[in-house]
Symmetry: C2
Subunit: 355 residues, 2 copies
């Protein structure tokens, strides 16, 4: 299988190995029987995941002339720990029950508390442990990045990008909470959340990190490629996420059907639907969206509104345009040819995925 045909598969094996290696380094601290569960839960959680962020980072590195190097695999893999941290905290903040087809981390520890007949609130215990495990993965993501084995000069150039990405991620998640709470559904608001919450941190910044690490400088062409290809694939990635959050197959997404509707997420799909909705349709959205007890019929009703108003087709059209524009920008960039082919395939994979 050539790398260009399978840019994700090419990275997966090395990312998995790097994660195992890093966790093994932490193991001595966790030989205490009471602490062991923290490491094993992190390990279990980290076996899932598409490895998309490491792939963008790795292929950015190759694009700017980097070769195969264990340090790069380790640095790229650290982005998977960051993502694990964000998902575990996200599930607490959204009060989600399920992740990757399994009970969310806070629910698992809530269950342990309930089964053990411990003191205090089981829910509060579960949330507390999930906050701490997310924190642990967040600090480990930084440690793994810095101790990856890449040359200090390369890391020094990339570190401000890394720092910026983390601040941007927390701000993006805050904007997401705020939009949901304010219940406004404008195109601009939805695009902004898509870009800050997920787009930048899932695609643009991992790509930039790889490019800057290999180039050991922040060239104009890197910023151009990140601003065009990176931003557009980032937004399209999040729009695909939004579509899957409403229409995805639970067997593939690992989340219950219509979960985003139940959580009241203010996505581009919703903004588009409300802009074109009749009074009756708008009323249905207002009364059903964000209802924590939304059942299968309610999900079906909202899906119909989203399809009938043309919102679904409009979002698919946006995804296609962003993808086309990104691929065009990719053509112009002065990068390695194998990486160009891989980044094109990765762009398609990120925006047409079913999970």
């Amino acid at each position: 299988m050539t790398p260009s045909a399978a840019p994700l598969d090419h990275v997966r094996h090395e990312v998995d190995r790097s994660i195992r290696e890093f966790l093994d380094r932490q193991r001595p601290l966790f030989d205490d029987p009471q602490l062991a569960v923290l490491l094993s839960t992190a390990e279990g959680f980290l076996t899932g995941g598409k490895r998309l962020r490491p792939a963008f980072c790795y292929w950015g590195w190759r694009a700017a002339g980097g070769g195969e190097e264990p340090g790069m695999h380790m640095a790229a893999a650290s982005l998977e720990l960051l993502q694990a941290s964000a998902l575990i905290h996200d599930d607490v903040m959204d009060a989600s029950d399920v992740r990757r087809g399994m009970p969310a981390v806070h629910r698992r520890f809530e269950q342990v508390h309930a089964d053990s007949g411990w003191h205090g609130s089981a829910g509060q215990f579960g949330e507390g442990v999930a906050v701490l495990l997310g924190n642990l993965l967040l600090v480990w993501a930084g440690e793994m990045w810095r101790t990856s084995g890449l040359p200090a000069e390369a890391l020094a150039v990339a570190q401000p990008v890394h720092d910026h990405m983390l601040t941007e991620l927390m701000c993006g998640q805050y904007l997401d909470l705020l939009e949901q709470a304010q219940g406004e559904s404008t195109f601009e608001g939805a695009l902004r959340v898509a870009l800050y919450k997920s787009g930048k941190y899932s695609v643009e910044q991992p790509l930039r990190l790889g490019l800057v690490l290999a180039a050991r400088a922040r060239h104009d062409w890197i910023d151009r490629l990140c601003a065009q290809y990176g931003t557009q694939i980032g937004i399209a990635f999040q729009l695909r996420d939004d579509v899957l959050g409403v229409f995805g197959d639970p067997a593939e997404t690992g989340k219950p059907a219509g979960d985003d509707l139940r959580e009241g997420k203010r996505t581009m799909l919703i903004a588009r639907a409300l802009a074109e909705a009749s009074d009756v349709q708008a009323q249905a959205v207002r009364s059903l969206l964000g209802d924590p007890d939304l059942d299968a019929r309610g999900v079906e009703r909202l899906r119909s509104v989203i399809e009938d108003t043309g919102a679904l087709a409009a979002c698919e059209g946006m995804i296609k345009r962003y993808l086309d524009d990104a691929l065009h920008a990719l053509e112009q960039a002065p990068i390695d040819e194998t990486a160009r082919t891989a980044l094109a395939a990765l762009a398609v994979a990120a925006t047409t995925r079913r999970t």
Copy 2:
């Protein structure tokens, strides 16, 4: 005022200035009116605090021969951001209402949500924002540490200590949650929590960081001083915290009277009280400790049991012994004399404080 007479005051001004300087660097990212509140909340929170951790770090640095250096003030001050992160998350995990005499961060954002009549659960919104703000402060603590301006060689030697401290902090907080949930009250358990949750991260590791940064190496005498003076003052610091959590004056601690009792904290005071309690007294502890609605009378009843069983006097005796042993260890260390005097005063301040 000489440094030796006021080792905290000596550091406070420079720590405050460093925090302002770091936050000013972040400001451009927060000129967005929706994001500004995150920065201003962080700023407000960071004006409080005893600056104890930066002081141990700074005087560790001076002890191993370091001089006045802006980079050191910045590095030491970063520990205050880490502490702010831990407190904001702690208040979420403990469902605490008040911190430093003000509503806890999650309660403040809950109130904003309620006052604005936004969608969804106000409580969930408040908790979500507090988790994110704590994350922001956690990643900033790392960034501030690394970009302090200290020489790269010094930071490289100290970085593993810093990484270890963060992992240990999360593990210690997990053990605290677990002890509280399991409701066991053994001396060993209480000591372990005191050491891991707070002692190491409040005293021993900040001190070690300062020592290692100045010495640019991990000498045996550093480990000895940290294991003796550092560990003992760390435990005594937490035991003082436990006493203040039950007997402290709300006007000074900034927390409601008897807050630790309401939260069901399994401290050394409780372990000691239960070990000596009559059946009636033990029954009172079991029925009142951890009751979220515990009123002033209940607090008074528990205080009486803790005093009458001799638990309070026993804890005060432990604090005194740890302090004496630590001061003795300090005498033996091959360190700068001004720093020795300051560390002695700091040890007294940390273990006899009223806030």
